[in-house]
């Protein structure tokens, strides 16, 4: 079984501060870590490999410094690693990022793709599902449990206060919650070996046959951040339970009229 885990290197937000003027993260001097959800996904992948055999490949898109995140993943026990790094990739939004990663994944090959639910620096939760869509894969997001049964994965998906047990045929994609697995530490031997291993670095040229330059980077990004600002705490909403559909419509309409929205 070939599992590919997508990881992102993020600033450790436990130690990060916001610039009060721009509302953006001050990244200078902040240590970089593997995103929590991704690390849980990696751990789940390692456990599956140890159970049913196969390999775990880690993929990270980022600047050359993201090398250390991949070394860390190798030191935890991943088998091989790819760094997707190029000037052309810079400025990509989630859609363009997913395009680049999906292109790389097609080239690498996989039975199962695991990504984190969302990254602590952007919190979009979009890249995983977008990779799944671009690769036309069935996907399970918000996984808090993961197992394998023959050609299928069995995933426990968190769904508000419920959980769904889903059986999905591979190839497929899963986005992991931090609760999915408690990540192991690196081992001393793992670190020593990780720095003796080659990490494959793919730039634009390595992927260009399947990658339209118009689809990536700033040019290929449909979203643009025009402003960042701190959130204000809002009042909790009103929960109206046990209404019939008609009553619900009435209640919503009444509120909209009350607030002069319609």
């Amino acid at each position: 079984m070939k599992i590919v885990v997508c990881i992102k290197q993020v600033p450790d937000t436990a130690e990060v501060k916001l610039d009060p003027k721009t509302g953006t993260l001050i990244r200078d001097g902040v240590p970089s870590i593997i995103n929590h959800d991704d690390r849980a996904g990696l751990e789940a992948a390692l456990q599956l490999r140890d159970k049913v055999g196969g390999t775990v490949t880690v993929v990270c898109m980022g600047p050359p410094q993201a090398d250390v995140a991949l070394r860390e993943a190798l030191a935890m026990g991943a088998d091989d690693a790819y760094l997707l790094s190029a000037r052309e990739f810079g400025g990509s939004d989630t859609y363009a990022t997913a395009t680049i990663i999906a292109t790389a994944l097609k080239k690498i090959g996989f039975d199962l793709v695991v990504t984190g639910r969302q990254a602590i620096d952007g919190d979009t939760a979009q890249v995983g599902p977008q990779i799944g869509e671009q690769l036309h894969l069935p996907q399970v997001s918000y996984a808090e449990g993961l197992d394998v049964d023959g050609d299928y994965i069995i995933a426990k998906r968190q769904f508000e206060e419920e959980a769904h047990m889903l059986k999905v045929k591979m190839p497929c994609l899963v986005t992991a919650l931090s609760e999915l697995a408690e990540p192991r530490y690196m081992s001393v031997r793992g670190i020593v070996d990780a720095y003796q291993q080659e990490i494959t670095v793919w730039g634009f040229d390595d992927l260009k046959n399947d990658l339209n330059p118009e689809w990536i980077g700033l040019k290929g990004s449909p979203t643009n951040v025009f402003q960042s600002f701190g959130k204000k705490m809002r009042d909790p909403g009103t929960l109206m339970k046990d209404l019939t559909p008609d009553q619900a419509v009435e209640a919503i309409m009444a509120k909209l009229i009350e607030r002069h929205i319609i």
Partner: protein, 382 residues
């Protein structure tokens, strides 16, 4: 000349730091109070390779080096010096003897389980009547057929309460000085008849570490358990202590840095005379002085470690590092308690434990006086 750690060492340091903060720190106070080392913690550290850091992967070790081992010693000792000595005695004193002087067969049989994390090792040299003066050793090994029978008593054997393997030194020839008549044996503390391990000796510091009297009463040892040949024990014992001193120096650096960090954290929050204690220039100057000494101690320690990794003469470097670092540990922990005032003296905060723990670094694996003998001996003064 480069004083920076390379990427692999930085990542190893991060592993040790994270593990120490997450796994060891929450247990340190309780282990000290109960005078018992947590066996679950021990197993976790074995699993992640903390007990075989500088040894070859060929025998199941981490394949790293002495420098990485000092990083581990510093990080664990920042939060718990008892963990430091537990790892150090196993690594520098027990494993190094077999690694350096063992036959291939002995390495496969005894070194492999010690460094792959399945067994714990210890080292029995000190006796009730023979501390710094190794020549005063009384434990003997008498030939009986092909075997040897060991009789005597070893004191302050760290890890002996739970260790599997011990390198024990006994006189095989009493007609010559110990430097020629001492032999090193690999014994199995848990399985060999005639071995008795006492209760933990009550001590001032490093109370969570296991430290017992091990008595040998006609303990039968086969000749394939002799290390380096009959009569080679003194050389083996001294060589192990040279390595051990690098570990103790790093432990002392860790204790000092850990205590200073705790005290600074406290002094930033504690207000007296209307402002944080850290805002007084006396606090700041003292902190600067302490940090400078810690940095100097760390660099001395790294110099010794690098010299060993480069297969250069490192004994006098190791002695200088231990001499300076242990003195620094005692001074910095004393200051840390002082900076925190009455609260520093309370068991609620870790610095009183660190102050108690620091003292031993001036004593074991060669006292500061012995360190001066080693350093001065290398200076061609006579």
């Amino acid at each position: 000349m480069d004083f920076k750690l390379d990427k692999s060492h930085l990542l190893q340091q991060e592993l040790f730091r994270k593990f120490a903060e997450t796994e060891i720190k929450p247990l340190a106070k309780e282990m000290d109070e109960n005078e018992v080392y947590d066996q679950g913690l021990l197993e976790k550290m074995q699993k992640y390779g903390f007990f075989g850091i500088p040894y070859s992967q060929e025998y199941g070790g981490g394949g790293s080096d002495t420098l990485a081992y000092t990083l581990c010693m510093e990080e664990v000792s920042k939060v718990d010096a008892s963990t430091g000595i537990t790892i150090s005695v196993h690594t520098s004193l027990c494993c190094s003897c077999i690694d350096e002087f063992g036959t291939e067969e002995q390495k496969q049989k005894y070194l492999r389980p010690l460094i792959d994390g399945s067994k714990i090792g210890c080292y029995g040299l000190t006796e009730p009547g023979a501390g710094s003066d190794v020549q005063g050793a009384q434990t003997v090994a008498v030939k009986d057929g092909d075997d040897w029978l060991i009789t005597g008593s070893k004191i302050f054997t760290t890890n002996s309460g739970f260790a599997d393997t011990c390198i024990v030194f006994a006189l095989t020839d009493r007609s010559v000085p110990a430097s020629k008549g001492l032999t090193a044996f690999i014994v199995d503390l848990k399985e060999m008849p005639g071995i008795e391990v006492s209760e933990n000796i009550e001590r001032m510091g490093i109370r969570a570490a296991s430290n017992c009297i091990v008595s040998y009463d006609n303990v039968r040892v086969s000749p394939d358990r002799i290390l380096g040949g009959v009569g080679k024990g003194f050389k083996i014992a001294m060589s192990a202590l040279d390595k051990g001193r690098i570990g103790i120096a790093a432990q002392a650096v860790g204790i000092a840095q850990g205590a200073l960090n705790e005290a600074i954290k406290y002094a930033k929050e504690r207000k007296q005379f209307g402002k944080p204690v850290i805002s007084f220039q006396n606090s700041q100057f003292k902190c600067a002085e302490m940090q400078t000494k810690i940095d100097a101690a760390r660099l001395l320690t790294w110099r010794a470690a690098k010299a060993k990794d480069n297969h250069e003469v490192y004994g006098p470097y190791a002695a200088a590092a231990k001499l300076f670092a242990s003195d620094t540990a005692v001074e910095v922990t004393r200051f840390a308690v002082q900076l925190m005032g009455g609260y520093g003296y309370c068991r609620e905060y870790p610095v009183e434990r660190m102050y108690r723990d620091a003292k031993i670094t001036e004593i074991y694996e060669g006292t500061s006086e012995v360190m001066k003998m080693v350093v001065s001996g290398s200076m061609k003064l006579k």
